[in-house]
């Protein structure tokens, strides 16, 4: 159960804990604490099941999930059930639903998405909100395209901006070449996007999907 090999490809070790204990018998009978067998196997990346919420979109469901490295779980600090006195909210089946829920508003409500339909990161949806949205490889960009397409500028390859008054998202060219539906976006030009438009940056193609539209915007009075 211990974590090993977090740092690199490393060997897989088989660890077995085998605590057997009599239920409700006196504490004098301690389990075998550990019976660790060590084996060296060639590392292999398994592909286990992807959990999908039925409510998710079909395209999202079928994407192969990315195997990610984990850094947060080598921890051996006090498990949660031994901690007391913290203020984590507890779900109470008896309490009225929602009455004690924290009502939080997202400060960056979704305005639309760019979905990578071709190139590295294909299948990924990138959400964006109000304000000037810079698109680039850098992680600090509003819309970060760090999937391995080196042709994309680090910063402000292109920008998007949603205009709540017009209820439209506008695309502008930045530091590098940008194509919209295969046509060049000129310097200084600002083009209003339509649902399904394809933006090309380097070797990456992004499809624009709007959420805010003429019939809905977050700035509408929501009572």
């Amino acid at each position: 159960m211990s974590r090993i090999g977090d740092d690199d490809k490393s060997a897989t070790r088989i660890i077995r804990s085998d605590p057997t204990r009599l239920v409700r018998k006196s504490k004098d009978k301690k389990p075998d604490q550990e019976n660790a067998t060590v084996k060296i196997n060639p590392a292999s990346t398994g592909n286990s099941s992807n959990a999908l919420s039925p409510a998710e979109e079909a395209t999202k469901k079928l994407d192969p999930a990315v195997q990610k490295k984990i850094e947060a779980t080598g921890r051996r600090d006090q498990p949660e059930f031994m901690k007391t006195g913290d203020k984590t909210k507890v779900f109470k089946p008896s309490s009225d639903s929602g009455s004690e829920e924290d009502v939080k508003e997202n400060e960056t409500p979704v305005v639309g998405w760019l979905v990578i339909v071709d190139g590295p990161g294909k299948g990924t949806a990138l959400e964006f909100s109000f304000g000037l949205q810079t698109i680039g490889r850098d992680s600090g960009q509003s819309i970060s395209l760090d999937f391995g397409d080196e042709e994309i500028s680090r910063e402000a390859h292109a920008t998007l901006e949603y205009d709540p008054r017009e209820r439209k998202v506008y695309l502008s060219k930045g530091a590098n070449l940008v194509y919209l539906n295969s046509e060049r976006v000129g310097q200084g030009a600002e083009i209003g996007l339509k649902w399904g438009d394809v933006i090309e940056l380097g070797a990456t193609k992004l499809r624009f999907v709007s959420f805010c539209s003429p019939d809905f915007c977050w700035t509408d009075g929501d009572g």
Partner: protein, 296 residues
């Protein structure tokens, strides 16, 4: 009726161990090779809680999710039980609270999006000789009644198994698309709203010599017949002279199942965790022990 349990796990050929389990046995918690003693007020009386979470490797951070689920399930189960003495409410509280913790973690760090795990929490109550459970996902929960056919106790939350309930969603999929996701989970503890879970609040009575098996799907490397044969092998020999012998047998069965999985040598073998619980009539055992003592 009393019960004994044993648990073991292997990493298989995966890079990470994303199966986590814990056992709350009266006032002791067994978790990650350590024991934690619970305060008197919060400890269980005559009950044992067995919990397994199989982190979803394909979604990333499965081990973090599984550990959080185990730890928070225990925390909130015990707190709710202390308040209400209601097993069903406590199961719900443990599951929903653990789920909410994940929602919070994902909200704080978008890298965690999609992380989650299956969950089986099973409570054994020795006074009523009953088991109760809550289950989400595709981990295995089986009952092996002595001398009768084994049966799966929990629902399996995969697209093919739940196709009736998911008919509306499936109707949008082509046959090929459905084939691709049929073994994929349709419900897991992953911070999103838990719409599909299996909660047993009435309890099922367990007889002497019956076995209850909880396992992650890594055990599915073995056929159900092979698992049954292994469990029955120890079942037939359950006329133990004393409790220690029974403990040994349960432990041996768990070890055999794990060894069989290893021996199968399946490429890409998934993490595998096996927890086995067996009940026994403690009076009988005492009589046996007395007879034995008298014979000496």
């Amino acid at each position: 009726m009393k019960a004994v349990w044993s648990a073991a796990q292997i990493q298989g050929s995966r890079d990470y161990q994303e199966d986590f389990f814990a056992v709350v046995d009266s006032d002791l918690v067994y978790y990650r090779d350590q024991e934690y003693e619970l305060e008197e007020g919060i400890a269980l009386q005559g009950q044992t809680l067995l919990i397994l979470a199989d982190g979803m490797g394909g979604m990333g951070h499965g081990d973090l999710a599984a550990a959080q689920i185990i730890e928070n399930f225990i925390k909130y189960y015990l707190a709710e039980y202390q308040d209400t003495q209601d097993i069903g409410d406590s199961m719900l509280s443990g599951m929903q609270s653990a789920n909410q913790i994940l929602t919070g973690l994902v909200a704080e760090n978008s890298d965690y999006e999609g992380m989650g795990a299956t969950l089986i929490a099973l409570l054994w109550d020795e006074v009523e000789s009953k088991i109760y459970w809550v289950s989400v996902g595709d981990s295995m929960l089986y009952l092996y009644p002595q001398g009768a056919k084994p049966r799966r106790l929990n629902e399996k939350h995969t697209w093919s198994e739940q196709s009736e309930k998911l008919a509306a969603q499936i109707s949008h999929l082509s046959e090929k698309e459905f084939t691709e996701i049929k073994d994929v989970l349709c419900s897991a503890v992953d911070g999103s709203e838990l719409e599909m879970y299996d909660l047993q609040t009435e309890g099922i009575e367990i007889g002497s010599g019956d076995f209850v098996l909880i396992a992650s799907d890594g055990l599915e490397t073995l056929s159900l017949d092979a698992i049954e044969a292994c469990v029955n092998d120890s079942e037939q020999s359950v006329t133990p002279a004393d409790v220690d012998t029974l403990v040994e047998r349960v432990s041996h069965t768990v070890a055999s199942l794990i060894e069989d999985v290893e021996a199968a040598g399946r490429p890409g073998q998934d993490n595998t965790t096996v927890i086995l619980l067996s009940s026994y009539q403690d009076v009988d055992l005492n009589i046996n022990a007395e007879q034995e003592a008298a014979a000496q």
